[in-house]
Symmetry: C2
Subunit: 440 residues, 2 copies
């Protein structure tokens, strides 16, 4: 049923039908949460043996003989540089392994750029009207961070194979106050898009107006495919930038947070030799070194890239049914309705869902009233403002699959209600139950 | 033998005697290091059972029911707030428990002050001629950090019960560009001085010209007494500042690094409610939260403040003989010489040693030539420049006690040689072996 083609009468009938469905959800006193990208309990259970990796009988030396129980080693231990380098697709010597949060590493690099400048450039805090590009929909914490640092955030459209590179190129090559861009290149948050080889090459070929322009390449989902036997390849951008003569243009990030225990993993940044020298120089003031015991724990648990893949396949087997459930429910409920579209990710933690323009906030509100929490509408846009009010991020990882199904079906019902409200307004139809819903 | 009273002839004879001793050390091909404050191997062995604290069979919830295996909890877990709060002598609600390095927490707060200002004050990066007070001798990493952030470092003399508070008061109350002071209040690095109750009260009673003046109270050695039955009391400064009407004037820091495994512990900052709100606000951009599993591991291992004390008594039993050995050797070699003095700490990781003026760099050089490494002369002063060239930091923790003895004895011999060289120059005496030593 295409909602946009309904007669007035059909519209009222459909609205009443969906409204009655909604009321039934309300009666259930639901308390479900599909708002944040946290692994579920079963996923956490997959990694419990990590807690047994280091014991009082372990030799706690890294492979280069460093005693991981004592101070030292700003770079992180060699075996962690190798493993996280392999996850990113870069050489170990291009990697620093850091603390428990890649987000913190991004923040620290931005702080450094703000206060000191990068490789001798003018500190970004002294650049008037500094700007940062934000592919949309995207990750709210990325956007909030650069907003905090006083950047004007410029939305750039996400396409099916990555950001709109014509738009990126135009902005980056014309304006020296454009200092960076956020990217989640593989299974992007929230679309699930994997950047294509061509997009990556176009990134490498950028000729930024700003000499200190940087791509913040947050490869958070590099090993988080839902279909391990058919994982998307992602050419390495650092390598491509180096070949294109711009080795310093990118910082790449990853972490083991969503591989084992979020917040208790290890993170890494990969960059050119010059960028790493620059980072080591400032971080030597901030720390004597990262938690090497946790680095040792992580590496000895995962063992190798093959070990990582085997482990992530177990995650995939828990995540895949949830994603497939979401997609099945959305298809059952909304295919052909003309009032919604969604992505079908092959990895990552999110799906991106678009309502009819002007409906997303209303949908999230209706869901919340029935006890189901989604990420606030607008979150996927800079400043939390989605100009079309269409985008909703679906995070199916944390809830059990039965709850994912219920929540998604409710989302579909609310999407229909909100769309019908809009369409009714166009017809100047008053829907009795609607009035009640808005004042309840 | 008071070197300052030697005749020319006695001086030459004494120099020759010490020079022959020095040559015997040189022949031994020593390779000893008393330069950094790292725990020794036996100390690390004390904590190996910590590696067994969390296993795959552990319930990994904090006492408030938070699953420590997943994201969340910017403040740290409640039991860690309690334990580290107790170490600092503050209420848990005044504490944030952070990552593996208290140094990083200090750096992060300074970054925040530089970029954002504190509680609405002008960002420090925009304060011309900003200054930071540095009690001397002091900790090189503190000084280097504020130098990095563009502060002019003002040395303040350390007295036997803390910094010279007349000097501190004069500087802090007259000059709004004086933004902070570094303090290690208990078993100070390197003197071992414990700040007196009166000094702490004088800190609390400061009336800074700068509204955003901050005391960086690095209580790194709060539980690191050498004589557990007779540990120095330290009144809490946050409490004193609050009573004096200046609750926001101090940040206190501690960590478990030197209690178990350096670099793999947890850190904390304690501050007023307003300061904590300010920090949470900015850190919410930088992280989803600290490594809660490591917080759980630390707290479950130490169990309680009584557990901490019992554990630290075991550290003390390893450290005390080393400190006592250093002091005994220095007394045997240098008491009454008139060319050296040293502190006799009752806790911490260091002793402070002073040569005759103008001799410290020469002493460290002579030691290094004979294979014994001390912290570079000058390190305990801002910019690495000790204007009198007298101070050397002795760090006896890492080396085995036999090496501590050898290294200290060599230090004494070199101190005598350097002093005799100076005194010889005053007599216009040429010491043949001296020429050789300087050109070797």
């Amino acid at each position: 049923m295409n909602y946009r083609e309904l007669s007035r009468k059909e519209l009222v009938r459909e609205y009443t039908k969906q409204w009655n469905r909604y009321l039934k959800y309300e009666e259930q006193d639901l308390s479900l949460d599909l708002s944040r990208g946290k692994p579920g309990k079963e996923q956490l259970a997959l990694s419990m043996k990590m807690m047994d990796t280091l014991t009082s009988r372990s030799v706690l030396d890294s492979e280069n003989g460093m005693d991981c129980r004592n101070y030292g080693g700003l770079d992180g231990i060699p075996e962690a540089k190798s493993l996280l380098g392999e996850m990113l697709g870069v050489h170990p010597e291009n990697v620093l392994v850091c603390g428990n949060s890649s987000l913190t590493v991004m923040f620290d690099i931005l702080s450094h750029a703000m206060l000191d400048g990068l490789l001798g450039s003018k500190p970004w805090s002294r650049v008037e009207n500094r700007k940062f590009l934000c592919p949309v929909p995207g990750y709210d914490r990325h956007f909030a961070m650069t907003e905090h640092f006083g950047f004007t955030l410029i939305p750039v459209a996400m396409k099916e194979d990555g950001p709109d590179m014509d738009q990126v190129r135009r902005l980056v090559e014309a304006d020296p106050t454009v200092k960076g861009i956020w990217c989640v290149p593989k299974y992007q948050n929230p679309t699930g898009v994997v950047f294509s080889k061509q997009v990556i090459q176009e990134f490498a070929d950028l000729r930024p107006a700003a000499g200190d322009f940087r791509i913040f390449w947050d490869n958070a989902y590099c090993v988080h495919g839902l279909y391990p036997d058919d994982d998307a390849p992602l050419p390495d951008l650092l390598h491509a930038c180096t070949l294109a003569g711009h080795p310093d243009m990118v910082y790449e990030f990853c972490s083991t947070s969503k591989m084992a225990f979020p917040g208790a993993g290890i993170s890494a940044v990969a960059a050119s030799p010059a960028n790493l020298i620059d980072l080591r120089k400032v971080w030597a003031f901030a720390t004597i070194g990262p938690d090497k015991l946790n680095q040792l724990r992580q590496v000895r648990y995962f063992k190798s890239m093959a070990g990582v893949k085997a482990h992530m396949a177990r995650h995939a087997s828990l995540m895949r049914p949830k994603f497939e459930k979401v997609i099945r429910v959305l298809e059952e409920e909304l295919a052909g309705s003309g009032v919604a579209q969604w992505t079908t990710p092959r990895g990552g933690y999110f799906l991106s869902f678009d309502t009819m323009p002007g409906c997303a906030a209303r949908v999230v509100e209706l869901c919340a009233r029935a006890g189901v929490k989604f990420t606030p509408a607008g979150s996927t846009w800079p400043y939390g403002h989605d100009p079309q009010d269409t985008n909703i991020r679906i995070a199916p990882s944390y809830a059990p699959i039965s709850e994912v199904e219920t929540a998604t079906r409710l989302l579909a019902v609310c999407t229909k209600l909100a769309a019908l409200e809009k369409l009714a307004a166009q017809y100047c139809v008053t829907v009795p139950s609607l009035a009640g819903a808005q004042t309840a």
